[in-house]
């Protein structure tokens, strides 16, 4: 991997981590209404996959969607503004954390329904095929979604039509409170791909270089018209299901132990230095840039006007 790519992967991961930290602070200050779901611990997946995508490629995201949104190129100020319910937010305060979309960058939206984005990405891939473009769709979803009907129906449809779509299953080990080891009778979710006639690949989702490599193959395959792939990235969710989750379903030792042994950001840093793709000083400089950018984004968002009143016309495109 070349140095700019490696440093950009780090930058995206570090931005996601900092965004989640900053959102948590804002939530603690009672500035965010509703709920937020932290992507901390899973940054390598969004970064490694989206590095291969163009602005005109599509993604569908999840309730835990901040990371995908950032990796697909979203503006941080507009993201914070949405969390703060401002008119300047991506959804003008109509959607909130669980519904951020950025169609200008091909982000077809976070989704409050587990598995809700999987057929939508499949349909986006159908558009690419139908119009004869080389666009690709990527659907991000969790281990929980792999047990929804939409997963099975969509994978089958994409396989029989050889659609340019990559299904990225982020196994963060918990579907809300239900551990994957109890929710699946198989250890490797990727073997399900065989049942639909597509390649299934299981990788260490904490290692951004590994994710980057596997996603590159799957996306290239889709772009060449060779059909869909199921890519399962093993990961771990550092925080609870939502902000404030008491996490009664997880042993304390697991939370603390896994946070340190399963930290993709620290791993990425160590890997970049070890492979001489960058120095500690360069990485520190990136950190400072991100922190400054984050504060500017928060300040911009907080200065934005509140969401404008609803109008009857906004629900329908043609009234």
């Amino acid at each position: 991997m070349d140095k700019p790519t490696a440093l950009n992967l780090y930058r995206v991961m570090r931005t996601i981590r900092r965004f989640e930290q900053r959102s948590t602070t804002l939530f603690g200050e009672n500035k965010i209404w509703g709920t937020i779901h932290s992507y901390a611990g899973e940054e390598a997946i969004a970064a490694g996959v989206c590095e291969h995508l163009r602005d005109d490629d599509w993604i569908t995201s999840t309730h835990r969607g901040h990371g995908h949104c950032i990796a697909k190129g979203a503006d941080l100020g507009k993201m914070f503004a949405e969390l703060l319910g401002r008119e300047t937010g991506y959804c003008r305060g109509r959607g909130g954390s669980m519904h951020i979309a950025d169609t200008s960058k091909g982000n077809l939206g976070a989704n409050g329904i587990v598995g809700g984005g999987i057929p939508i990405a499949t349909g986006a891939a159908l558009t690419a095929k139908q119009l004869g473009t080389d666009q690709v769709a990527v659907s991000f979803f969790g281990d929980g979604a792999a047990n929804q009907g939409t997963f099975h129906e969509s994978l089958n449809i994409a396989a029989i039509w050889k659609l340019p779509v990559v299904y990225v299953c982020e196994n963060n080990q918990y579907a809300e409170s239900f551990p994957a080891k109890k929710a699946f009778a198989v250890e490797d979710i990727a073997i399900r791909a065989a049942g639909y006639g597509m390649p299934g690949v299981r990788v260490d989702g904490r290692d951004v270089a590994t994710v980057y490599g596997a996603a590159g193959e799957a996306i290239a395959r889709a772009r060449k018209g060779e059909g869909p792939t199921l890519l399962v990235c093993e990961s771990y969710r550092h925080e609870g299901h939502y902000y404030g989750d008491p996490r009664k379903y997880q042993p304390k030792e697991e939370i603390e132990g896994w946070k340190t042994t399963f930290d993709p950001l620290a791993d990425a840093r160590a890997w970049i230095v070890r492979e001489k793709l960058g120095t500690q000083a360069e990485l520190d400089a990136i950190d400072r840039e991100i922190d400054d950018e984050m504060e500017r984004a928060v300040a911009w968002a907080e200065a934005g006007p509140p969401a404008s009143p609803l109008t009857a016309e906004e629900i329908y495109a043609s009234n």
């Binding site: 939508i120 629900i315 329908y316």
Partner: protein, 344 residues
């Protein structure tokens, strides 16, 4: 006595070449699909059994030969998969028409219709458009029993972001389907299984009936019957019988439930001073309640009697024919209800 208008509605007009042809309702739908697919390559059709088989009710017959398997996309029996794929395609630039073979199967696809298609535009702050048509059919009368005979339109009228259309005549079926395909919002297009083999004059060529415009299918002065889908035909028969008894009934076919042509209903009711709403769906929670409430709220002072609903019984649709006929309003039921309303 005003004539029963079986010719195209005034808003329909004749085709672009001015001619009109007798068509079955299924044929008129097929004509709309063909014309819309010819004029816009982004229109595709997805559904079960729609290709060689031509659809369970033959609405897509012949389209595979003309447009090929890329545009007539037959899907596995995967209701949420096919509707969700259509939602994604609509969000990204196509204008898909997804066919759900029976409205009773919509429960399997409900998340994609309700949480995704209907709400994407609003949730995303106006960034998205979802030009999707979900064609389906409902209704009883064919011995298909409880899981293939329901009238579920009220479910969809309750969801902000959806439009709901229910044509009663071949001309309206063609014109409303064309309008639904050209519309930039998700439309539930609900046909009736016993209307497919009904016949009527249909404008040839391009024919568009705007959504949200009711049609006065028969003019009258003593009572307004507000109705849709197959009950329009029953109501017209009932109106003819009522005329023999000296009662002049006006029959309003709402055609689209969302958006609803409130003005057409209210101005008719203000004229006749009586309103009977007739639909096949179960009365409890049915859309007739919405219309009766609208009339009571907006035209109370103009009424000589409370608005009345005549609708399906609160039961799953039974199988045996005499039982099945007994649970949804028939012509005689409409005659009796209208007469009672007029005679107080």
């Amino acid at each position: 006595m005003p004539p029963i208008r079986t010719a195209p509605a005034p808003s329909a007009g004749a085709g672009e070449d001015g001619s009109v042809r007798e068509m079955f309702y299924a044929e008129a739908l097929n004509d709309a699909l063909r014309i819309e697919m010819q004029r816009d390559p982004k229109v595709i059709v997805l559904g079960e059994d729609i290709a060689e088989h031509g659809g369970a009710f033959q609405v897509t017959a012949g389209l595979l030969a003309e447009f090929g398997p890329d545009r007539i996309r037959q899907t596995p029996i995967s209701e949420i998969g096919l509707v969700g794929t259509a939602v994604g395609a609509a969000l990204t630039g196509l204008r898909p028409v997804a066919e759900l073979m029976y409205i009773d199967f919509s429960g399997l696809a409900m998340d994609q219709i309700v949480n995704q298609a209907a709400q994407n535009r609003f949730m995303f702050g106006g960034q998205a458009r979802v030009p999707l048509v979900v064609r389906t059919q409902g209704g009883s009368g064919r011995g298909n029993a409880a899981q293939h005979s329901k009238s579920l339109e009220a479910w969809f009228t309750h969801v902000a972001g959806l439009k709901v259309v229910m044509p009663a005549t071949p001309a309206d079926a063609k014109g409303l389907l064309a309008a639904a395909i050209r519309d930039d919002d998700p439309v539930m297009f609900i046909e009736h299984k016993l209307l497919y083999r009904t016949k009527g004059p249909v404008p040839t060529g391009e024919h568009v009936v705007p959504l949200g415009k009711a049609d006065v299918k028969r003019e009258g002065t003593d009572v307004t019957i507000v109705t849709w889908s197959r009950e329009v035909l029953f109501s017209l028969e009932a109106a003819a019988k009522l005329a023999e008894q000296g009662i002049s009934a006006e029959v309003i076919d709402v055609r689209s439930l969302v958006p609803l042509d409130k003005d057409a209903i209210l101005s008719s009711v203000r004229k006749t001073r009586r309103c009977l709403v007739v639909h096949e769906a179960i009365k409890r929670g049915g859309y007739g309640g919405e219309i009766a409430a609208l009339v009571a709220e907006e035209a109370f002072d103009d009424l000589d009697a409370p608005p009345r609903r005549l609708a399906g019984l609160e039961t799953p649709i039974p199988y045996a024919q005499p039982l099945e006929l007994g649970v949804v309003p028939q012509v005689a039921d409409i005659v009796n209800a209208a007469r009672d309303l007029v005679n107080g």
